[in-house]
């Protein structure tokens, strides 16, 4: 071990080493006598490494800590500055490259820190906070999936005082909220009364929910900071004022702190309000009775751990409870377990964040390598141009080490200048981005720690990469250099070529990833822009009123419109009165409103079983997607009628048996035959085992903006749909549809004040967009990594609507899958699974 220590002493400056090596060895031997080899090894490293660095620093700082005659570090810096000034253009390029590298890396790390490493925005870091991640085995495919909790589960968890100090829960939805400026669809989170207290979130104003409010129907609300600023001017008088949710008055009792939006990344930048759990009873159907039910699993949970408990203990401590719950609900909670993880990031699961962190760090590392190799190549070029100077200095007696140190100092000065420029770019860029598009870079703000880390990382790597040019430049043969002193031609060395290859190799993945992201955005915004009808606005909307088969209930809160069909007819009439509206298409899958008391997930199943006769006796059953559309659907979306006719006004009535199929469906059901007049039987097994005989009256082609459409679809008249509680509206206008969107919204509100309107797009953007704003790369990447397995009710519902809306426009499944890649394949497969009969639950 003494030999190892002696070897390590080689890290010290030469003079120091020569002076004290023997003494240090003796002292070390006596100091470590009787210790184990491992301990001695650790002591050797811990002793030598920091002290050797400090000794070198002493030499650089004082010129000679041990009496050496080495010029001071300040001299090297002065010389480096002179060298930089002699080649201002080259130096400027190097500094700019370093600044861009540091700036981009700082930005990436800021995004990571904001969305993945720190707790969700607005929540102070706290080691005691944890996110519960309940899992169970899904019976349909045997996979372990994240599930949600019911309110009784939350109450049970609160009993575990040994594990949790606080247990808070929430569930989210979209509802029309009126803050005196007209009702708008907003994100609404129903939370337990202790939600803000458990998170130690200090409200910007007000006291929040009283402690005993979980099951109370007291109409109180906490509003988001952005709503406070926008609608109430940030006035503290906001407490006690009233806003209307679903046209019911709610008293404001608090304002969330700045940037706080809860935990769902889908909420970023969106106006949000928080209501107590009990408010569900007065706003949502069945909510009054479903809260105590064990099978109403709609809640996510965040906990404050008891003192001394770490997230890893939670599974063990809650194992008895989980086993009991699994026994009670064997269908939905097979192998139920409750785990916890530290409350960091906005994403839903740990694996999501791991993907996010890994991809961002990979890109950051590649950028560092590209930057450093670029700088190395430039430094190498400069070193080649200074070969004569270096040769002269070597011939005059300068040591190689001395010259390398000088060149490294120059690298360091350049890196520092680059870091300063990077800082100058980083801070205003983040601030400007936030000022211009706060919803897109929500929560991002310049962070000194992040920038410092990126700077130190870049400094170290720049110095390391500066070593290669320094070694290369000082390795020249003095005689040859002096003889060829008049020849200033810079030859490309193998090292330079290596740098170029490294740059290209690293640029490739970065460019590919960037191209994919940009292509995704481009496709989302402009897909089929040439062919798609540019003047069609589309939106998904949902009726929040309870359907009652002809009887309006809930008293005067609901207009006297009987059913979803009545509402749709009224909306159509009102929209038709808007000047410039040419036609209106309505598309729905015809399912009744999912009963939230059974499942948090929307039962989205548009694939039906159809029986068709083949020959005289044979009957074939085919699974074909079915959509209910009104008579203007094909006109509005410019879908060509290939054969027969479209659904007419007369066909769009209750009891109609007319259907239109697309070419893919015709080929599937009656290959090589004319489908007009053919009959098919739809098995309506959703609610009752009955069948409906249908007759094909027309065949439509692929819509002009998706000529590759291959998914078979049967279009049935809208009036024959059992329900249209959730549907997609497409409005063809005489000009740019975007200008009509506010009018359309207003018209819908006039008829149905409680409709939740989502995903408003013009058609050229609708073919691929799932979100109601154009995603920037950061947001896109975050969603790509974060949004998938969160499996929140709203998320899946929104996605289902989106997929369904796109299906209504004829987008084929393959294309949907491809364009859905801005979220994960997992999410897409979830949607697709939910579209299959077997996966619905």
């Amino acid at each position: 071990m003494t030999r190892f220590y002696r070897a390590m002493l080689g890290l010290y400056p030469e003079r120091f080493r020569a002076e004290y090596r023997e003494e240090m060895c003796r002292a070390f031997v006596e100091r470590t006598r009787g210790r184990s080899s491992v301990a001695t090894l650790a002591m050797a490293i811990a002793d030598v490494v920091p002290n050797a660095i400090a000794a070198h620093w002493d030499v650089l700082r004082h010129g000679a800590a041990a009496g050496t005659a080495v010029p001071a570090f300040a001299g090297d810096i002065r010389f480096a500055l002179r060298q930089i000034a002699r080649a201002p253009l080259l130096s400027g390029v190097i500094i700019t490259v370093i600044a861009l590298g540091i700036g981009i890396n700082a930005g990436l790390l800021t995004i990571l820190n904001t969305y993945a490493w720190r707790p969700a925005l607005g929540i102070p870091p706290d080691a005691a906070l944890a996110r519960l991640t309940p899992t169970a085995v899904r019976r349909s495919d045997g996979r372990l999936v994240d599930i949600l909790l019911s309110y009784p589960d939350i109450l049970d968890l609160r009993e575990r005082r040994d594990a949790f100090r606080e247990v808070a829960a929430w569930t989210s939805t979209n509802l029309p909220v009126d803050l005196a400026g007209g009702a708008e669809t907003m994100r609404v989170s129903y939370t337990t009364a202790n939600f803000f207290r458990a998170l130690r979130v200090t409200l910007a104003a007000g006291s929040g929910f009283p402690d005993d409010l979980d099951q109370s129907t007291a109409p109180v609300v906490v509003i988001g900071q952005s709503l406070w600023m926008t609608n109430f001017g940030g006035s503290p008088d906001v407490i006690g004022k009233t806003i209307r949710v679903m046209n019911l008055p709610f008293t404001i009792v608090g304002v969330a702190p700045e940037r706080f939006v809860g935990f769902d990344i889908m909420n970023l930048g969106q106006p949000t309000i928080w209501l107590p759990l009990g408010a569900r009873a007065i706003l949502e159907l069945n909510a009054a009775t479903d809260l105590p039910k064990r099978d109403v699993a709609i809640f996510r949970s965040v906990v404050r751990l008891a003192p001394g408990i770490v997230p890893g203990d939670v599974a063990r401590l809650t194992a008895p409870l989980a086993a009991r719950l699994a026994q009670q609900e064997p269908e939905t909670r097979a192998r139920f377990s409750l785990r916890a993880e530290r409350l960091t990031g906005m994403a839903g699961t740990r694996s999501d964040r791991t993907e996010l962190v890994a991809s961002f760090l990979l890109v950051a590392a590649l950028i560092v390598v590209i930057t450093c190799t670029n700088v190395s190549a430039l430094l190498l070029g400069r070193a080649a141009a200074r070969r004569r100077e270096i040769g002269v200095r070597l011939s005059l007696g300068a040591t190689r080490l001395r010259l390398i140190r000088q060149m490294l100092t120059e690298s360091l000065v350049l890196a520092l200048a680059g870091a300063l420029l990077g800082l100058a770019l980083y801070v205003p860029t983040v601030k400007i981005a936030y000022a211009m598009a706060p919803e897109l870079v929500y929560g991002l703000e310049p962070e000194p720690a992040t920038f410092l880390f990126a700077t130190l990382f870049a400094l170290v790597t720049t110095i390391v990469f500066g070593l290669a040019p320094a070694l290369h430049a000082t390795s020249a043969d003095i005689g040859e250099v002096m003889k060829n002193s008049g020849n200033h031609a810079i030859r490309r060395s193998r090292l330079q070529m290596t740098f170029v290859v490294i740059q290209l190799a690293c640029s490739q993945p970065v460019l590919v990833v960037t191209s994919l992201v940009l292509a995704d955005i481009r496709r989302g915004v402009n897909e089929n822009a040439d062919q798609a009808p540019a003047s069609v606005a589309m939106m998904s909307w949902r009726l929040n009123r309870p359907e009652s088969d002809g009887v309006a209930d809930h008293g005067s809160r609901y207009p006297a419109l009987a059913s979803s069909h009545d509402v749709l007819r009224a909306v159509r009439r009102r929209l038709a009165a808007v000047p410039g509206v040419r036609s209106i298409a309505i598309i729905t899958d015809g399912h009744r409103r999912p009963d939230q008391s059974k499942t948090p997930m929307v039962s989205f199943n548009r694939v039906r079983d159809f029986d068709v006769a083949r020959g005289r006796v044979a009957t074939v059953t085919a699974h074909v997607a079915q959509l209910y559309v009104n008579n203007d659907y094909f006109t509005t979306l410019a879908t060509p009628i290939v054969r027969g006719r479209a659904i007419g006004v007369d066909d769009d009535r209750l009891g109609s048996s007319a259907v239109v199929v697309n070419e893919a469906a015709a080929e599937l059901l009656w290959p090589g035959q004319d489908p007009i007049g053919k009959r098919l039987v739809r098995r309506d097994a959703e609610n009752a085992p009955q069948s409906t005989s249908l007759e094909v009256i027309g065949v439509v082609g692929a819509p002009p903006y998706d000529k590759q459409q291959t998914e078979p679809i049967v279009f049935a008249p809208l009036s024959t749909a059992a329900s249209a509680w959730e549907s997609t509206l497409a409005v063809r206008t005489s000009g740019d549809a975007r200008a009509y969107v506010p009018w359309i919204r207003t018209a819908i509100r006039e008829v149905e004040p409680y409709a939740a309107i989502d995903d408003v797009n013009v058609t050229r953007a609708s073919g691929a967009k799932h979100f109601n704003r154009t995603p920037l790369p950061s947001r896109l990447a975050l969603r790509r990594c974060c949004s998938h397995r969160s499996a929140s009710t709203r998320s899946l519902r929104s996605r289902s609507r989106s997929v369904r809306a796109r299906s209504a426009f004829g987008s084929r499944s393959g294309r949907r899958r491809a364009t859905s890649c801005d979220t994960s394949s997992e999410m897409v497969s979830s949607c697709r699974r939910s579209a299959s009969p077997s996966a619905c639950h």
């Binding site: 120091f16 003494e23 003796r26 002292a27 100091r31 002290n51 050797a52 400090a54 002493d58 800590a65």
Partner: protein, 119 residues
């Protein structure tokens, strides 16, 4: 011996390790490992100097003139292979000055009512 008071003040405040080394050598000449042991004993084991820290401090203190290497061995028991160090008059002056500075600090703290005992 004339002591340059400006030079003394220029070295204050002393790093703790330097002060401990001066205290150790104030008792007599010592070699490196003896200093390590002495400092450890004085501080009740709280300060355990590594060889690297010790000799980097020694190198700096020799350069500053606080200590010097002893050329002749004082006793026959001294190990011939070891290098012994001795505090210089300048080093003693600096140690005294540091002691005065620390005493003054303690006095000021006491005057403020601060006591080492926790409340």
């Amino acid at each position: 011996v004339t002591i340059d008071l400006t030079a003394v003040d220029g070295l204050l405040p002393l790093p703790p390790v330097t002060f401990h080394l001066l205290l150790s050598l104030f008792d007599g000449d010592r070699h490196g490992y003896a200093i390590i042991q002495d400092v450890e004993a004085r501080t009740g084991g709280e300060l355990r100097l590594s060889a690297g820290t010790l000799y980097r401090s020694i190198a700096r203190m020799v350069e500053q003139g606080l200590i010097s290497e002893v050329a002749k061995r004082r006793t026959a028991a001294d190990d011939e292979r070891r290098r012994y160090y001795r505090i210089t008059p300048f080093g003693t002056a600096v140690a005294r000055a540091e002691m005065r500075r620390l005493s003054e600090l303690v006095r000021l703290a006491r005057r403020s009512g601060l006591t080492p005992e926790t409340a």
